[in-house]
Each structure stands twice: as C-alpha cells, then as structure tokens.
C-alpha cells in the first residue's frame, strides 16, 4: 500500500454523495413532515461537506468555499425556522403531520 500524504479528496466526496442520497431517500419516503425537514438538513450538510473539501484541496489560498459554506448555513437556519413555522400552522389547520394528507394544491 502506498503511503498517502493526506486523505484523498475522493473520500470526502464519496461521504458527501452518500449523505446526499440518504437525504433524498428520506425526503421521498418519509410520511412525517418533521422528518422531511430533517432530510433537507442532511442534504444541505452533504453539499457543505463538498464545498469544504473543494475549498481545502483545490482553493486553499482564497478559501472561497468556506465563505459559501457560511452562507449555506445561514440560509439553512432561515429555512428551518420558516419551514417549522409553516409546519406548525399546517398542523393547527389539519391536526396531522402526515405528508399524504397535505393535498391542498392537488387539482
């Protein structure tokens, strides 16, 4: 086995790909609306791992990927707050968190 001088970037990319796909699976298959929001957070974290790996391995002088990660974290916090508020008002009107019963937009 050849000696590495650092962890290959592919390792980080594979972890983030797997995390992203787990997030998509949870997004498609959850029936609880809170779990859907958690899956979205998982996907955002996968994207963040990707950005951080590239900023450390490709662009290690001007670490612009880390700045992007800060912005993604900001938007994720705002998204979680608004998403959970929407969920609360939806729960107040429908008395359920089952994704299958949220069919108000169905024609």
């Amino acid at each position: 086995m050849m000696s590495l001088e650092s962890i290959p970037i592919q390792a980080f990319l594979i972890v983030s790909s797997a995390l992203f796909c787990i997030g998509i699976w949870g997004l498609l298959n959850s029936r609880n609306a809170v779990r859907v929001l958690m899956s979205i957070e998982l996907m955002l974290n996968a994207v963040n791992i990707n950005l951080m790996a590239f900023s450390s391995y490709v662009d290690n002088n001007l670490i612009q990927g880390q700045v992007f990660t800060i912005f993604v974290i900001t938007v994720a916090a705002a998204e979680a707050a608004v998403g959970l508020a929407i969920l609360l008002s939806l729960y107040r009107n429908r008395v359920t968190v089952d994704m299958e019963s949220f069919n108000l937009l169905k024609w």
Partner: protein
C-alpha cells in the same frame, strides 16, 4: 497540518461511519425523537470533518448554528406536534419504495463514478493556510462578498418576521371566514380545524 496521517485516517473513518449510520438512522427509525437526536450527532460529526479539513471557524459555526439552533428548533417542533396517530396505509407503497430506492441508488452510483473517474486539479501544498482561515473568511466577508453578507442579514430578518407571522395564532380580532371573535389566549382551546378532510 500537524496531525499524523494515520491519525487523520482513523478520525476520518470514524467520523464518516458516524455520519452515514446516523443519517440512515435519521431516515429509517420509527421514533421521530430518536431521529432528532441522531441528527444532532450527524451535525457534530460533520463539524469534526470540518476540523479535519483545517476549518475551525466553520466547524464552530456548524456546532453553534446546526446543533445549537436548528436541532433545538426541530426538537421543539416535535414536542409541539408529537401526537400518536395511525397513518392511513398507502396501497401502492411497495412500488413507491422500489422506485425511490432505485432512483437514489442510481444517483449514488453516478455521483461516485464522477468522484472516482474525474481527475481533480488539486493544488500542491495542501492546507497551507491552516489557522489563518478565520482571518481570510473575515476579509472575504467584508470585501468581495460584502453584498451577499448584507443580503444574508436581510434574509435572516425576513425569515424571523415570517416565522413569527406564520406561527402566531390570531392576528385579527375577528375570524375572517366565520366572523366570530377569536380567542387571543396563549393556551389553545379545542376548536374545529378548518381544513379537515370532509370525506
């Protein structure tokens, strides 16, 4: 980078195993409360990966924002909406599961193929700036990323106001649809929900 490569590999393996198993637990476990706490563990492990990438500031931000704010918010939401309910069975659940799982596996294999076959043009001295990264992020935020930084503050304000407006119970003194005076009390009284399924 001062940590030896063996230590790095061991840390990376442990952290990524915790991330992947925790994420599977988040989407697969029956109890939503267990999922929420596992999600906190996943966020902490992602912060560990950031530390491994020499990004201490982003790791701290990850712990503060995700574990400290988002995860606590999710646990509060679970506490507010946690009700045992018998979900109606879906008749074509099996075909849905098969289709979604195959889509996810296809996407995963595609992404892994791109990761492994592409030749990344890596810069030669890796992780050269190290602890200076916090200073560099600050310089970016106040020079070439100044406009997104300010827009992010406006976005946070809008999200805060929007969340308050959406989650607040009654803004008007009279109900628009029924014309009855609404109760402004803190504790919710039992009332007929507006949009229950009639059928």
């Amino acid at each position: 980078m001062t940590i030896a490569i063996t230590t790095q590999i061991i840390c990376f393996t442990i952290l990524s195993l915790v991330i992947l198993i925790g994420a599977l637990g988040v989407v697969l476990l029956e109890s939503i409360v267990y999922s929420a706490f596992l999600l906190g563990g996943v966020f902490m492990s992602v912060a560990g990966l950031y530390l491994l990438l020499n990004a201490s500031f982003v790791a701290a931000a990850q712990v503060l924002v995700y574990v400290g704010a988002v995860n606590v918010l999710i646990i509060f939401a679970i506490m507010l909406v946690n009700k045992k309910e018998d979900l109606k069975p879906i008749n074509d659940i099996k075909s849905r599961r098969i289709i979604s799982t195959s889509i996810c596996l296809t996407l995963l294999s595609l992404l892994i193929r791109v990761d492994m076959t592409n030749v990344w043009s890596l810069s030669s001295p890796q992780n050269s700036i190290g602890e200076e990264s916090t200073i560099r992020i600050g310089e970016h935020l106040f020079s070439d990323y100044l406009l997104p930084f300010e827009v992010a503050s406006v976005l946070l304000l809008m999200a805060m106001i929007g969340a308050i407006v959406l989650a607040r119970r009654d803004v008007m003194s009279k109900d628009i649809s029924t014309g009855l005076p609404v109760d402004q009390e803190l504790i919710e009284k039992s009332s007929e929900p507006l949009l229950t399924n009639k059928n």
